[in-house]
């Protein structure tokens, strides 16, 4: 996946709109993955993705609060549906019905890393001091998330090398 180049923002309002969209997309994406896992009877991973979805939804709320506090009211979360995936959206092709908690959380960690790098890049390039400040805040939030996901991962043992072994063949359903 190529590096996501951060756009140039006209003002803080535009930046916040983007940040909100990123968190919303991340949350919705985790929700989709949780559903998939539930349908495939992998409750443990479904629970992990639901938790991540809730976390991103919370982050979304937090950003909205920040924006309100900065008197950027009437903010509209913009999004480009024909653009590439945001930096925090999980790649759907990485899911597997037998995936392990470490792998699921690994995807989450990757998302947080990319998001952190993204906001850091914005902070570095921003000319508007408000944007720079908020981007830096976002970046450090994401960095904290990385640490926190690492702690979560550490609770799990190493993956079984045969984690994806399913003795049963695929099933004809139609």
């Amino acid at each position: 996946m190529s590096e996501i180049k951060p756009p140039v923002f006209a003002d803080a309002a535009e930046f916040f709109a983007e940040a909100l969209a990123i968190e919303l997309e991340a949350s919705e994406r985790y929700e989709l993955l949780a559903d998939q896992m539930e349908v495939h009877n992998n409750r443990a991973i479904a629970a992990i993705f639901r938790k991540m979805s809730a976390i991103e939804a919370e982050h979304h709320k937090e950003i909205a609060r920040l924006a309100a506090a900065a008197k950027l009211d009437g903010l509209r979360a913009k999004f480009s549906w024909t653009g590439a995936d945001g930096p925090e959206a999980t790649d759907l092709s990485e899911a597997h019905y037998l995936m392990t908690p470490r792998q699921a959380l690994g995807l989450a960690r990757h998302n947080e890393e990319r998001a952190a790098a993204y906001f850091e890049a914005i902070a570095a390039e921003a000319t508007d001091p408000t944007v720079r400040a908020f981007a830096a805040t976002m970046a450090s939030d994401e960095r904290r998330h990385v640490v926190w996901v690492d702690q979560w991962i550490a609770k799990y043992e190493a993956d079984d090398p045969n984690w994806d072994e399913d003795p049963d063949p695929a099933v004809i359903t139609e």
Binding site: L32, L33, Q36, E38, R76, T82, A84, L92, A170, E174
Partner: protein, 279 residues
């Protein structure tokens, strides 16, 4: 950029999804096609009740059940004729057709040729994973000749079908390819396909994580944006296809054919027809 505020946006992508949870394997490319379709419909702000999605039989053909639009899950290979009938009787609807490489190019192959010729305003999305997923792994017309399966030990030895070549030769008015590894790209192609009048064909490379796990990683490296502008010249499009390795994504061809519109000869009442029989 789309404005997500309630005032500006009546339909968000989530509004196009039904309550039925997809049964596709996690990792399947079709999940991305579903997401891209929702986004495309949101981009165009089409009311869900104005959209109909027609499909055949196969994993890809499960798509209509997962959308909050009108849908028709028909028999194997016959989605295009159903869609043709629907759009002709109801030109006011936006009609999408969802199929796979087996349903669309094997049993549906004949209908594909003729749908391109007819140029009815449809958007045909074929999710190509180069295998028959639902019946447990038989070769499809786009499967590589040396791919081993139980029903074709050692491979079929047959030349694969070239969907874009066939579409161009048969008169499709819009031809594009996308890869599910890029949801935004898929969305864009579907949007353009819907916007372009006439028969629009979007060939989507959609890896099968269960029967073709060789595809995912390989295709991510191979799929790339075609380094050329779209063309409205069929000859130029044909020349490009001669060097297409099957992994160029983007719009190949956007023609200017008028979409099929029934020629109505005018509003006489039914009783007026009687005159022909009068003695």
């Amino acid at each position: 950029m789309n404005d997500l505020s309630p005032a500006a946006v009546a339909f968000k992508p989530a509004d196009y999804r039904s309550a039925v949870k997809p049964v596709w394997c996690p990792g399947c490319g079709d999940h991305s096609v579903l997401l891209a379709t929702q986004r495309a419909l949101a981009e165009l702000q089409l009311p869900p009740e104005q959209v109909a999605v027609v499909s055949g039989i196969g994993c890809s053909s499960r798509l209509p059940a997962y959308l909050n639009t009108y849908g028709f899950h028909g028999v194997h290979g016959r989605a295009l004729p159903v869609a043709t009938g629907l759009k002709t009787a109801r030109p006011d609807l936006t009609v999408l057709v969802a199929s796979g490489d087996g349903d669309g190019f094997s049993i549906g192959g004949n209908h594909f040729l003729h749908a391109c010729r007819r140029n009815v305003d449809l958007t045909y999305i074929v999710m190509d994973n180069r295998i028959y997923g639902m019946t447990k792994g038989q070769p499809s017309p786009t499967t590589e000749p040396d791919f081993d399966t139980a029903i074709s030990p050692g491979g079929t030895g047959l030349s694969p079908f070239h969907p874009l070549v066939v579409a161009l030769a048969s008169g499709a008015n819009f031809i594009a390819r996308a890869f599910t590894g890029d949801v935004g790209g898929c969305t864009k192609m579907i949007v353009e396909a819907i916007k372009t009048p006439g028969f629009s064909f979007v060939h989507i490379l959609s890896p099968c994580v269960t029967f073709r796990d060789d595809q995912q990683k390989a295709w991510k490296k191979l799929a790339r944006g075609a380094m050329v502008e779209e063309t409205d010249d069929p000859e130029r499009a044909a020349r490009r296809l001669m060097t297409d390795d099957g992994f160029n994504v983007g719009v190949l061809y956007r023609g200017k054919r008028e979409p099929y519109r029934p020629r109505l000869t005018g509003g006489d009442p039914v009783e007026a027809l009687e005159a022909e029989f009068a003695q």
